[in-house]
């Protein structure tokens, strides 16, 4: 049985036509079994908790964007009973990294068809402190450059006009790394952006797999604006990573959830049941 969690923003008028197309397609495919609309008083976390505790469903589909997907994924993974959890799928109403990585197209009819294929597999999922991520954990220090005017003025007085990148310490299995990198990513499933960066460095993308229980650490520096690629890249594959900084900084999980340092990152091997599309990145 398919259960659809429809995000609150889908109610907006501009999504009415696309929602209608989705309903028609799912009905045609005979898989529009049950649905619930997210509201302010009934958030995604509560819906997923209720559904997993009280109902026997095989597929749970997030209808919305990366934020919808991330909330559903976290709610599934945090549920105390992990036996017989449903497979996760997504129908993206906006550009979605998670949908793209799992192989679900942005065309609504095609996404519905992919959902109906019932191609299900258990894949790795990342855990950062208490939260989960499917694609990546990212720390982007260069965004500090986009801070408000007050921060810019403060920086001029305190640091002589230079934006100082925080020193980040990463502890891996047998060694520790120190870097003042602009960007740190821990990748579980790569997207097109990383594909380009990794290809440039001669890294075999076949080695980045969400079935191996390993985290892929990418440290990038010196963005060359003309080529849109980094000239200074480091790459490691490991089981666990601890991220420490002197001053607290934030990492984003799947570009949505914010987690503060220190962060313990682990990859839970073949922990998460997902519906997979044909164009998945693995």
């Amino acid at each position: 049985m398919y259960f659809y969690i429809i995000d609150n923003f889908i109610k907006e008028k501009r999504y009415a036509r696309i929602y209608h197309r989705m309903s028609m397609q799912l009905n045609d495919l005979g898989i529009f079994d049950d649905k619930i609309q997210v509201t302010k008083v009934r958030p995604i976390e509560d819906i997923v908790r209720d559904v997993l505790s009280n109902r026997n469903i095989e597929q749970i589909v997030a209808v919305g964007n990366d934020s919808t997907a991330s909330k559903v994924i976290n709610a599934i993974c945090k549920h105390p009973n992990q036996e017989n959890t449903p497979a996760f799928g997504i129908i993206p109403f906006e550009t979605s990294d998670i949908a793209d990585c799992l192989g679900f197209p942005t065309n609504i009819e095609d996404a519905c068809s992919m959902i109906s294929r019932r191609k299900i597999d258990k894949i790795d999922i990342g855990k950062a402190n208490k939260d989960y991520f499917l694609t990546s954990l990212s720390i982007q220090q260069s965004t500090l450059k986009n801070k408000g005017t007050f921060d810019k003025i403060k920086n001029i007085f305190i640091k002589g006009g230079e934006i100082q990148l925080a020193e980040i310490q990463l502890v891996l299995q047998n060694f520790k790394l120190t870097s003042t990198a602009e960007k740190i990513d821990i990748i579980n499933i790569y997207n097109d952006y990383w594909k380009k960066q990794l290809n440039n460095q001669g890294i075999n993308l076949k080695k980045i797999s969400p079935y191996d229980g390993l985290a892929n650490l990418l440290i990038s520096n010196n963005l060359q604006k003309e080529t849109d690629s980094f000239s200074d890249i480091s790459f490691f594959t490991t089981k666990n990573i601890t991220i420490n900084t002197k001053d607290k900084i934030f990492a984003h999980l799947d570009n949505i959830v914010k987690v503060k340092t220190p962060i313990e990152v682990t990859i839970k091997m073949k922990y998460f049941k997902a519906l997979l599309g044909k164009n998945r990145h693995f």
Binding site: S179, D232, T237
Partner: protein, 138 residues
């Protein structure tokens, strides 16, 4: 001489062109034991121990203070520590090695610096060593 020199560069490029498992960029400092199975490229600072069954490329910006064990090793940066290569070790122009080296094949380009003792392994000797290692593993 120039032809040989060109060959050295070609070998370094060969190592660079192969699939890389680990890259340490110029802005990264690594302390500890870097142990892997695949190819490693280093352009940053490393102190500790480096061990891989694959190849090692030490870029011109790299500064390494470590014991090194790898198959093919190509050095364009600075290495302080003993190096053991099971196949070929090459020090490219401007590469610096301070420490003892042990290898089956050794190539030092003009302009490179090597300070230490060199121990050339015989092919037969190293094959016997490998066989012994396999026997003890089994």
């Amino acid at each position: 001489m120039f032809k040989n020199n060109q060959e050295n560069y070609d070998n370094a490029e060969n190592i660079q062109d192969q699939d890389v498992e680990t890259i340490i960029g110029p802005s990264v400092k690594l302390e500890g034991n870097l142990i892997g199975e695949g190819n490693i490229s280093i352009y940053g600072n490393v102190s500790g121990k480096i061990e891989t069954k694959g190849n090692l490329l030490v870029g011109d910006s790299a500064k390494i203070k470590a014991e090194i064990n790898a198959a093919n090793i190509s050095i364009a940066g600075l290495v302080e520590g003993n190096i053991n290569s099971s196949q070929k070790l090459e020090i490219i122009e401007n590469g610096k090695v301070i420490g003892d080296i042990s290898s089956q094949m050794l190539s030092i380009a003009p302009g490179a610096l090597f300070s230490g003792q060199s121990n050339m392994q015989d092919n037969a000797e190293s094959a016997a060593k490998k066989k012994n290692e396999k026997a003890t593993e089994e």
